[in-house]
């Protein structure tokens, strides 16, 4: 029997429920601009969560996750444009393709003992390979881009993901919540503990009888599959896809900033990081507008300096010290 006190949410639980209520009610008060920013935050929180499973939990550093976003986006968009397949069905194909690619890369890398920096660069190589490949893939528009039909929608069509920002907001909110719950469940599963063991010391994990190859494969495949879902969202939200943008290394970097700044390997790190970074970018834009600086690049310089300061001062990211300060999570790693 569990103690009844365990069932009552603690400070963290109350804060989380409060946050959930606020987020659910947000579209009632937020204007379109604020809603767009919230969508951006949730998008980065979601992709960060997906990346975190492979690189944070299992410790296999990937710098090429834009590959999975791009594959998801292109598969679902191509099925929709060429065959009229609804995105929720296209999603299944997108996830299958991305998971298969993840499995392929994982199989090749882990079979041959590629790890650390080498794995990171291998993942970049596959993403770059895809970028140049899609540049020459005429069926989906090549380097000229691939476009979804755009119109002004009077009513929301959730089945075909055509509608106004509010609908997209709820879709990405649901996805982010689901990813958070899934990560939570994974961390407390047998597989999750195996991942942490592999991350901390792979040799020791193997010595204890953990099938490290299979565990790492599971991490890549789950992470790739989740990331591709974000790609489907990306395609239908932005309605245009350019290989130069979707698969570019800067997209991969953008996607891992949130979990690393927030706190790699933690549950709430990606969310906190996404809020901070998107808030920082928008805040900088506003501040520069106020002071009348509008040279291209100036925002990114400040952004870079902020990143530099954060990684220098907070080696574990923002969330772990923040959680300790707020006494939300006394335990490590959660």
């Amino acid at each position: 029997m569990t103690d009844w006190r365990d069932r009552v949410p603690g400070r963290g639980g109350v804060a989380l429920i409060g946050l959930g209520v606020v987020l659910l009610a947000a579209p009632l008060v937020a204007n379109d601009y604020l809603l767009t920013i919230l969508i951006l935050i949730l998008y980065f929180a979601y992709t960060g969560q997906a990346w975190n499973i492979m690189s944070g939990f299992a410790g296999q550093l990937s710098l090429g996750h834009a590959l999975f976003v791009g594959l998801g986006a292109y598969v679902a968009a191509a099925l929709y444009v060429h065959f009229g397949v609804a995105p929720w069905i296209g999603l299944v194909a997108a996830v299958a393709v991305a998971a298969a690619c993840g499995a392929g890369i994982g199989f090749l890398a882990f079979r041959f003992g590629v790890a650390g920096v080498y794995l990171a660069i291998l993942t970049i190589a596959f993403a770059e390979f895809a970028r140049i490949g899609f540049d020459h893939f005429a069926w989906v528009g090549g380097s000229a881009g691939f476009f979804l039909p755009v119109a002004t929608y009077t009513r929301n069509d959730v089945w075909n993901l055509r509608g106004n920002p509010t609908m997209f907001y709820y879709v990405i909110l649901a996805l982010t919540a689901a990813a958070l719950l899934l990560s939570h469940a994974l961390l407390r599963s047998r597989l999750g503990y195996y991942w942490l063991a592999i991350r901390e010391d792979e040799e020791a994990a193997r010595a204890l009888g953990i099938d490290t190859f299979r565990c790492k494969m599971a991490a890549v495949v789950i992470s790739a599959a989740l990331t591709s879902v974000a790609g489907v969202f990306f395609a239908f939200y932005y309605n245009n896809l350019f290989p130069e943008q979707v698969f570019h290394i800067s997209r991969s970097i953008e996607l891992i900033l949130a979990p690393i700044i927030g706190g790699i390997g933690t549950l709430f790190g990606p969310v906190v990081g996404a809020v901070l970074l998107t808030g920082l970018a928008e805040g900088l834009r506003e501040a520069l507008d106020v002071f009348g600086f509008d040279a291209p690049g100036i925002k990114q310089v400040f952004y870079g300096i902020c990143l530099l300061v954060v990684v220098t001062l907070l080696p574990d990211g923002v969330w772990p010290p923040l959680a300790r300060a707020l006494r939300l999570r006394p335990r490590e790693g959660a």
Binding site: S55, L61, L63, L108, A109, F112, G113, V114, G116, V117, Y118, A120, I121, L122, I124, A125, F126, E128, F129, I132, G133, D135, H136, S143, I249, S250, I253, I256, L257, I260, I261, I264, A295, P296, G297, I298, Q300, V301, Y303, G304, I305, L307, L308, V311, T312, P315
Partner: protein, 290 residues
């Protein structure tokens, strides 16, 4: 197509590859000793490229002559970066080092963008259109000079690591960090020196490359990637490997540009990288990782 064309393209690819090799040599030296992957490598090279362009535009100073002072400036930059910024990150996990250097790269690219704007710039030397004819071969003079200078610079670095006392001390740090500390080497200073030397390599390579390519601030990331591809192909940490990798990649890109569309040429470089990582992860000339 006649065979001469292939030969011409192959030779010019090989010469460009030597410059690539010098750039990658810097990355390899830094990783081999400091064990940090310099994700701002290509961006540091764009600093050197803009220095060369500014010096040429303002004082008509030839980039090939300016190679030495520019390498000196980059050395100072690299030394300061390692001593001031990267040093506390030596024992932190890879992803944190990565994040730090990505931030540095972001600052460099965008500062250059603010200073010079997004337009492509180049250097028009008096010998820009000269060429040497050797039998059926016609080779651009700029490529011959650049390739030759790359060989000189790389040889100087080899000699330094083999002959100079400090070079030996740096190799000692790379072989055994704790041992180096025990015998009383100032490892922190040697690391900064190494980072400076790696930066000097990109400095020299950058001032040669302005003779061959148009420069934009956005060039940085693609050269960082190119340096990775070369260094991993040749063997991360191996100095001859970096040069061999550079030549191989330069050669492949040139031939692929001729046989297929030029825009697809870097696909072949990445294909080589993937094959090397899978079948010889330590690189062509790298030592087996224990």
């Amino acid at each position: 197509m006649p065979a001469e064309i292939y030969l011409n393209v192959a030779v010019s690819g090989l010469l460009t590859g030597l410059v690539y090799g010098l750039m990658a040599l810097g990355l390899s030296v830094i990783f081999g000793v400091v064990r940090v992957v310099n994700f701002a490598h290509g961006e540091m090279m764009t600093i050197a490229m803009y220095l060369a362009i500014v010096l040429f535009a303002a004082f008509r100073l030839d980039p090939l002559v300016m190679m030495v002072p520019i390498a000196g400036v980059l050395f100072a930059l690299g030394y300061a970066m390692q001593a001031g910024l990267i040093s506390p990150f030596i024992n932190r996990p890879e992803h944190m080092q990565f994040m730090l250097l990505v931030a540095v790269a972001m600052i460099i690219v965008n500062t250059l963008l603010i200073l010079f704007g997004p337009d492509a710039r180049n250097v028009q030397t008096s010998y820009a259109f000269d060429s040497f004819a050797v039998g059926p071969l016609i080779v651009d003079a700029t490529k011959v000079y650049a390739g030759g200078a790359a060989i000189v610079a790389a040889s100087a670095l080899f000699a330094f690591f083999r002959r100079a006392r400090i070079g030996t001390a740096i190799r000692a740090c790379a072989d055994n960090y704790t041992g180096a500390l025990v015998v009383g080497l100032d490892v922190k200073r040697l690391y900064a020196l190494t980072f400076g030397l790696g930066a000097a390599c990109v400095g020299a390579a950058g001032s040669m490359l302005v003779l061959l390519v148009d420069v934009t601030p956005a060039l940085g990331p693609s050269y960082t990637l190119l340096a990775f591809v070369i260094v991993i192909t040749g063997g991360l940490g191996s100095m001859p490997g970096a040069l061999l990798g550079g030549v191989l990649i330069g050669f492949t890109e040139a031939l692929a540009g001729l046989l297929f569309t030029p825009s697809a040429k870097s696909m072949f470089a990445f294909a080589i990288l993937v094959l090397v990582l899978l079948f010889r992860p330590q690189g062509l000339l790298g030592k087996k990782v224990a």
